[in-house]
């Protein structure tokens, strides 16, 4: 396993195999636009409540303001994160993490791997934790966080969260200087594809749309709609009149919260949000996240007595 991977996808596959072997459920990406893997309900919501959890997944992530038309060697408006969440955090989480680096070809005896203080906070999710950014030879390769609060709730037990910035990590392992030059699949395969072949065109298209074309009036309206729908969902009585079951719709409400968050990011990229308004928007998304957390902890998955 310690031999070098040859492509971007091989690194992802090795991480999947590794974390599966350590007992994580390998989930699929969430089917909505998010800014980071943390937004996946498998992290945000599942970090709440008392039930044990272990999941790993790739999450495509979008940060409209980071778009550079595919020209910057390191910056993309769409990129991948690899996310691991284990609750309660196991005592050997650091060793497990180092094992994953080994699995993707980072030989700890040749490199300088360090845990450097970095406290994590998500103002939009009302969440924070303590941990590190992990450095490999001076480069940040992962975030390592012990969640302390999510949606305003103390995490009991505490989840350990690992986030790998896949492109940057893969570029380092594969020795590539520009993300677009990175082999996506095996360079020896009959149809070798680079990251450029897969994403250069979409980076251009989205950068243009994000920065100059997206209709801000529509985005603003969508933001308001998502906010209203989130609240409307949560206002419904817990008992479903049709089935007679107790069904609290935490996840559908949280989808609207995710939507609002991404719409805010798009508006921000369009430059229509002033410095003072920014805080207000973040506060509105946080309020939704908080209400979703309130709802989730009343569900069975959230640890409420059935």
């Amino acid at each position: 396993m310690a031999d070098k991977p040859r492509s971007f996808q091989e690194i992802i596959l090795r991480l999947q195999t590794y974390w599966a072997s350590k007992g994580c459920a390998i989930l699929q990406p969430y089917d909505m636009e998010v800014g980071a893997g943390t937004f996946h309900p498998a992290t945000t919501l599942r970090a709440l409540g008392s039930k044990a959890w272990a999941a790993a997944y790739v999450q495509p992530s979008r940060r409209p303001t980071d778009g550079r038309y595919g020209e910057n060697p390191n910056r993309l408006q769409h990129y991948y994160q690899y996310q691991v969440l284990i609750k309660p955090s196991p005592p050997d989480l650091q060793e497990l993490y180092l094992g994953s680096l080994k699995a993707i070809g980072i030989d700890a005896s040749l490199h300088d791997i360090r845990f450097v203080e970095d406290d994590w906070e998500s103002p939009t999710l009302g969440a924070w934790g303590l941990g590190w950014e992990v450095w490999c030879d001076g480069m940040e390769v992962s975030q390592f966080t012990y969640f302390q609060q999510v949606g305003g709730y103390d995490c009991k037990p505490v989840s350990g969260e690992l986030t790998y910035g896949l492109e940057r990590l893969a570029m380092y392992i594969l020795g590539v200087d520009h993300v677009m030059d990175m082999p996506f699949n095996d360079p020896q395969s009959p149809s070798p594809l680079t990251y450029r072949d897969v994403f250069k065109q979409t980076e251009e298209e989205y950068a243009r749309w994000n920065f100059d074309v997206a209709d801000t009036d529509i985005l603003l309206q969508h933001f308001k709609d998502a906010e209203a729908e989130c609240q409307r969902i949560l206002e419904q009585p817990a008992d479903d009149p049709k089935t007679g079951k107790r069904i609290i719709m935490a996840h559908p409400a949280y989808d609207q919260c995710i939507k609002a968050s991404h719409l805010f990011n798009l508006l921000d990229a369009r430059g229509v949000i002033s410095v003072t308004e920014r805080q207000a928007y973040i506060g509105r998304v946080r309020a939704l996240a908080k209400q979703c957390a309130d709802a989730f902890v009343q569900t069975e998955a959230g640890g409420a007595a059935a």
Partner: protein, 726 residues
């Protein structure tokens, strides 16, 4: 006498917290042990990224038994009183002894506490220490309730003496103490056990861990400077960075790396800041060119390829970082060379404070004030105004956005590139100074003008919107700004009326930004008095002027308070400053301090000290007489009613002093004036010894009281001596 070793082994502790935490560990444990009756000879604390440790030698093996007797209530006292005594003493009724006392039979409690073994006390103290440790930020992990800075993994707690080592059993939420630890995470990960501190430190070193932070720092500095020296270069000293880096490694390995040629043209401060902030690299300078040409990184790892892979990785990361910095620098240079207009324009979109307008508004005000005060500091008004206009332009630059700590310095580079006068460029950098009590004060006139204008504007502005510092809260650093003004004025010997400056600034700040102030006032007036107010221009002006005066005097007393703190450090007592503040011209700090220094000097002399007594005596007698008689003895002492020589001599001394004091005061020559004042002391002393003021003859009495009044007036013309203590 056993020795104690404690190690708390955890996941990586933030570098900035380690030293403090080691000290806290030592203090909490030693305090706890001493409180429980143990003694020790010496203690020391240590930290690495993964461990806090302490050693303690010459610990007493057990605490001494104690016996205490307490006297209680009388026999037959109410049960309530007896029960209360039992509770306080922690004994039962059967334990009480009855003894004979002078007043009869009394209960006595004898409280005996047996000595306790050191191990028992240590276990108790250590558990309490861990559970209540004062981390700046701590966390929970897994499903336990324990809080530590990062997950705690193991505890060494052993007592050792000639007979051997013994584990002190402690169990904290499943973490049981033992005698084993681990070495370097990668180079020696296996557990090993230790028998005492010396063994611990030696075995750690074999396991690639240097326990002492200062030893790691020394090693880093030594290796770094040696490697640089071999190339004819020198490492830029940075103690803060050295301490931080020593807290990031257990086994420092110093590597010297290259900076690609593309980046050697960047300002050295930019290279240095980028390397330090992002990568924690030291900068390596070529003393001949003064350029930063290399860097030093400190790895925590020895590798088979002698760090080649590590260094290559670090160089690659640095390349990307510096490519960003170069991109910012080049973009900024384009704007700077074209005159910086886009930056200045964009500052109108940046809010300084929502009640005080934009940065652009603020800059306009500072520029106006800088122009006004320029003559007082010897600066060209044109240049002072121009400097104030561009001094904050760099806040809009890309470089300062990325590295806020380079504000001012980049301004200087950009102003130079824009072809502005060197004094203007210097002011861009220096007008923020002084930032703290030990920071240098600018001396270049243009820099002084802008620095003063900036700080006075800030103070007046926040005073006008009632955002004054309270208690420990000073979010806008107004105390620092006031101290800055004080130091700028005093160290440059500037003669400036603060009240005038503040009042001008108040009119500029408040009227445009709080334009509804008058309207509000008029409305309240109408509501409360039921009369509409005359709104003609003159009344308005009076309204604003009154408010300006009130603000000015309030802010001036804030300055005076800061001045007292400042001068106290220079050995001038607060009552001396109070005596001078009461005089005219107290908004001219240079004058005020000169007066205070002269007074302090005078009071330090024998004459001065005694004159105060004479003054106070004269003042007391006068005040009493004035109260009693209901008149003011302020004038009319006549030498023709002087009876004896002592009295005549006092007249002569006062005449002589008056003749000197008035011109000296007019010339602001306080030393001469005060010396003249002190010179009347022998005459005053002699007068009080030989002459009775309250003479039987009313004529004599009145004349003498009027003479005392001359003493009082003479002294008060120099300083308000009533404010002097003692």
């Amino acid at each position: 006498m056993p020795d104690l070793l404690i190690e708390l082994f955890s996941e990586e502790i933030p570098a900035r917290m380690q030293t403090r935490a080691a000290d806290d560990l030592k203090k909490l444990v030693t305090d706890g042990l001493v409180e429980a009756g143990l003694t020790y000879a010496g203690a020391a604390a240590f930290s690495t990224p993964r461990r806090l440790a302490m050693s303690l030698d010459g610990l007493s093996a057990e605490s001494k038994a104690t016996r205490e007797e307490r006297k209680g209530p009388k026999v037959g006292a109410p049960d309530k009183a007896i029960d209360g005594f039992l509770r306080g003493a922690g004994v039962t009724r059967e334990d009480l002894e009855i003894r004979d006392d002078k007043k009869g039979q009394v209960y006595f409690a004898v409280i005996e506490k047996p000595g306790r073994l050191a191990a028992d006390i240590i276990a108790e103290v250590l558990e309490k220490t861990i559970r209540n440790f004062p981390w700046p930020k701590s966390m929970r992990w897994g499903d336990g309730p324990l809080k530590w800075v990062r997950p705690l993994h193991s505890i060494i707690c052993i007592l050792s003496d000639e007979a051997g080592a013994q584990v002190v059993p402690v169990d904290i939420d499943g973490i049981a103490s033992g005698d084993s630890t681990r070495g370097h995470r990668f180079l020696a990960p296996d557990a090993f056990s230790v028998t005492g501190f010396d063994d611990y430190e030696a075995k750690l070193k074999r396991a690639h861990v240097i326990l002492r932070a200062d030893e790691r720092a020394e090693l880093i500095w030594h290796d770094a400077t040696n490697q640089a020296f071999a190339l004819g270069l020198e490492v830029v000293e940075d103690r803060g960075l050295l301490a931080e880096v020593a807290g990031l490694v257990e086994w420092p390995v110093v590597l010297l790396g290259q900076i690609a040629d593309d980046f050697l043209g960047l300002p050295p401060e930019v290279l240095q800041t980028s390397m330090k902030e992002h990568q924690k690299f030291f900068s390596v300078r070529n003393p001949k060119t003064n350029r930063i040409e290399r860097f030093v990184t400190v790895a925590n790892m020895e590798t088979a390829d002698h760090g080649a892979t590590i260094l290559a990785g670090n160089q690659k990361v640095l390349f990307a970082r510096l490519a960003d910095a170069k991109f910012f620098w080049e973009n900024d240079l384009r704007v700077a060379k074209a005159g910086m207009d886009p930056w200045l324009d964009s500052l109108s979109n940046v809010t300084f404070h929502n009640k005080l307008g934009s940065q652009k508004d603020r800059i306009e005000r500072i520029a106006a004030l800088a122009r006004e005060i320029a003559p007082a500091v010897g600066a060209d008004p044109e240049l002072a105004e121009q400097a104030a206009r561009v001094a904050k332009a760099d806040l809009s630059s890309e470089m300062v956005y990325e590295f806020p700590e380079l504000q001012g310095l980049m301004g200087r580079y950009y102003a130079t590139e824009a072809g502005l006068d060197t004094s203007v460029a210097a002011a861009c950098q220096e007008h923020y100074s002084p930032l703290g009590p030990s920071d240098d004060v600018p001396t270049a006139p243009v820099s002084v003008a802008v620095a003063l204008a900036d700080k006075i504007d800030t103070l007046t502005g926040f005073w006008a919107i009632d955002e004054k510092p309270t208690g420990s809260k000073d979010p806008f650093a107004l105390r620092r700004a006031a101290l800055g003004v004080i130091r700028l004025v005093l160290e440059n010997n500037v003669t400036l009326s603060l009240l005038d400056a503040m009042s001008n600034q108040y009119m500029r700040e408040v009227r445009p930004n709080m334009g509804d102030g008058w309207t509000c006032f008029a409305e309240v007036w109408q509501r409360t008095t039921d009369a509409s107010i005359d709104v003609d221009g003159e009344r308005r002006n009076v309204f604003w002027e009154e408010r300006s005066l009130a603000l000015g005097s309030n802010l001036l007393s804030f300055f005076h308070d800061r001045l007292k703190v400042f001068l106290k450090d220079k050995g001038i007592r607060h009552d001396i400053i109070d005596a001078c503040i009461a005089m005219d011209g107290d908004d001219n700090l240079t004058l005020l301090v000169k007066r205070a220094e002269a007074l302090a000097e005078t009071l330090a002399t024998d004459d001065g000290e005694n004159l105060i007594q004479g003054f106070k005596r004269a003042n007391n007698i006068l005040t009493q007489a004035e109260e009693k008689d209901g008149v003011e003895y302020s004038y009319g002492a006549d030498i023709k009613f002087a009876e004896d020589d002592v009295e005549k001599a006092l007249f002569a001394a006062l005449d002589a002093a008056d003749a000197k004091i008035a011109p000296a005061m007019a010339a602001e020559d306080f030393s001469t004036a005060m010396a003249a004042m002190a010179a009347i002391r022998p005459a005053v002393d002699a007068f009080f010894t030989d002459v009775q003021v309250n003479a039987d003859s009313q004529v004599l009495r009145r004349n003498r009281l009027n003479l005392l009044s001359r003493i009082r007036n003479l002294c008060l013309s120099v300083a308000d001596l009533t404010k002097i203590d003692g």
